[in-house]
Structures are given as C-alpha cells and as structure tokens.
C-alpha cells in the first residue's frame, strides 16, 4: 500500500509538472506580444536575428531584441561564427557513410539477439553494443544534424526572398 502511494504520488507530481510547463504546447515564440504557434524546426538565432518557419511554410525573421519568449519545444540554438562555416559544407560523404552504417548496425543488433540463445550474454551484448553505439547512434545523429543544416541553409535563403523548387 505504501509503495502504491509513492508510485501514484510520483506520477501525479510528474503530471502536474508536465502540465505546468510548456512541453504540452507545440513550438511557439512570443515576439512583441504576438504569439506565433505551430512552428517547424529548426528555430535559431543568427547575427541577432531570430528565424522561424510557420506551419504554412513561411519564413519569418525578427530582431532578437524584440523576442519575449521561446518555448522549450523549439529547441532553439544560436548559430555562432564557427557553425556558419559548417552550414556551407557539403555532406555527401557523411550521408553515404551514415546510410551504410545504419543497415550494418541493424544487422549486428538483430544477430546479437540470436547470439544470445547460443553463445551467451557477453558475446551477444558486445555485438549489440557494437551495432548500436558504434553504428546506429552516430549515423542517426549525423543524419539529423545534416538535415538540420540543410533546413537552416534553406531558411536563411528564403528569408532573403528567394524561392525554391519553382517550375
């Protein structure tokens, strides 16, 4: 009974905290007392300018001095001088390595399960960790970063009034 009380109170506390924070709302920013909701990722600040993309796909920019609040789910980041250099670099080779790493990692992880039956825990765990830690996780992080870089690049260009994919 005592355990149940602790478990229920733990989940209730978590629920209250979650409800009070802005994790329950979709990404939004407040600029000059006006709210922009349902934003798409990424939200970033570069050269004292906030870049956002609305749900309709329109890119808006605001001076960072006018920004009142950026919600937590925006995961906003500041693009420093060093990161600007990364934006212009090609990611072809990294994409290739990541796309090759993913099936290799999946294969190792999948076979580690069958190893567990026949060769014991140590060998299968080694294989499992190799598959996930060395192949799958770095590849996923790299791909995610490259996609974000591409989106940031596109947003900067669209904020200058350029259009993409015209017919």
């Amino acid at each position: 009974m005592k355990h149940l009380f602790f478990v229920v109170s733990y989940f209730l506390t978590f629920q209250v905290l979650y409800a009070q924070s802005d994790w329950t709302f979709k990404p939004y920013v407040v600029v000059n007392d006006s709210m922009y909701e349902n934003l798409k990722h990424p939200v970033f600040i570069m050269d004292s300018t906030l870049f956002i993309r609305t749900a309709e796909g329109e890119v808006l920019t605001f001076p960072s001095s006018e920004v009142d609040y950026i919600s937590k789910r925006c995961f906003y980041k500041r693009i420093e001088e060093r990161e600007k250099e990364h934006l212009s670099r090609s990611g072809n080779t990294l994409v290739y390595f990541s796309l090759v790493s993913l099936p290799i990692g999946t294969y190792l992880t999948q076979t580690s399960i069958s190893y567990w039956k026949y060769y014991g825990t140590t060998k299968s765990l080694t294989k499992f960790l190799t598959g996930t830690v060395i192949f799958i996780i770095p590849a996923t992080i790299t791909l995610h970063q490259l996609i974000l870089h591409k989106r940031v690049n596109r947003m900067i260009l669209e904020s200058k009034g350029l259009k993409f994919r015209i017919n």
Binding site: E81, K84, E85, L87, S88, S90, N92, T93, V95, Y96, F97, V100, N153, I156, L157, K160, G161, L162, K163, F164, R165, I166, N167
Partner: protein, 137 residues
C-alpha cells in the same frame, strides 16, 4: 566489331565540342530563374554570399555573379548554399586535397565513398574557380 564501336565512340565524343548554345533552349535541369522570366542552366553548387549569387553556367562553364535582388528562385535539383564571406574566401584560397583518399576508396576499397569524395572535390573546385574568377574581374 569492338574496334568499330570504339572508333565511333571516339568520333562522336568530338561532337560535344561542336555544340553551340541554342538561345531558345528551355532549361529543364537545375536552373536559376530571374525576375524578368529568363532561365539559365547552371552547375552545382550555386553560392549565395552577401546579397550576391555566384554560379557557373552549365554548357560553357563560365562563372558569373548577379545580385539576388534580380533572382526569382531556383529549380528543383539545385545545390544552393549560403556562404559566409570568410568561408568563401577560405575555400577560394585553400588548395584542394583529398584526391588520394578518393582513389584509395574507389579502388581497392568500396567505390561508393570514393565517388562521393570525388563529387565533393569537383564542387569545391567549382567554388574555388568562382571565387578566383570573381576576384579577377
């Protein structure tokens, strides 16, 4: 038979140099569209740096620059990159390396990474050429 095919390949390859750009040619692959409605086919990548658009023409490999105020947009398949002036200068002045890695990966290792490394080198060479040509103008 194989000598005939080889000879024909060599002969037809010379025809490439005899081509002239048709002014009425409608660009279908990667191109830049200007606000006056004209389209020009370009090679990858296209560089946007400080309100200027640097590009290389597809057929003649001539580098050119236009202010982005004159540009309407870019077609699908373009590799448009926004570049900091410092980064543009760095790529423009830095020697290109990585041929050895490209060759080593291409053969005897797997050809995929080698191909991508060579693609990166080709793009970097174009950026370098754009920078040097624009500086010389």
């Amino acid at each position: 038979m194989k000598y005939i095919v080889l000879a024909l390949t060599v002969v037809f390859s010379f025809f490439y140099f005899g081509q002239e750009l048709d002014p009425g040619y409608a660009a279908t692959r990667s191109y830049i569209q200007f606000k006056d409605g004209s389209k020009i086919p370009v090679k990858k990548p296209v560089i946007i740096c400080e309100d200027q658009c640097y590009y290389m023409l597809r057929h003649s490999s001539i580098c050119d620059v236009k202010p982005i105020a004159e540009i309407e947009g870019f077609s699908k398949g373009n590799d448009v990159r926004w570049m900091d002036p410092k980064e543009f200068r760095r790529i423009g002045l830095k020697p290109i390396r990585g041929y050895l890695w490209g060759v080593v990966f291409f053969y005897p290792l797997v050809p995929g990474p080698g191909l991508f490394i060579f693609m990166d080198i080709a793009k970097r060479k174009r950026v370098k050429r754009m920078y040097i040509t624009m500086k010389l103008k």
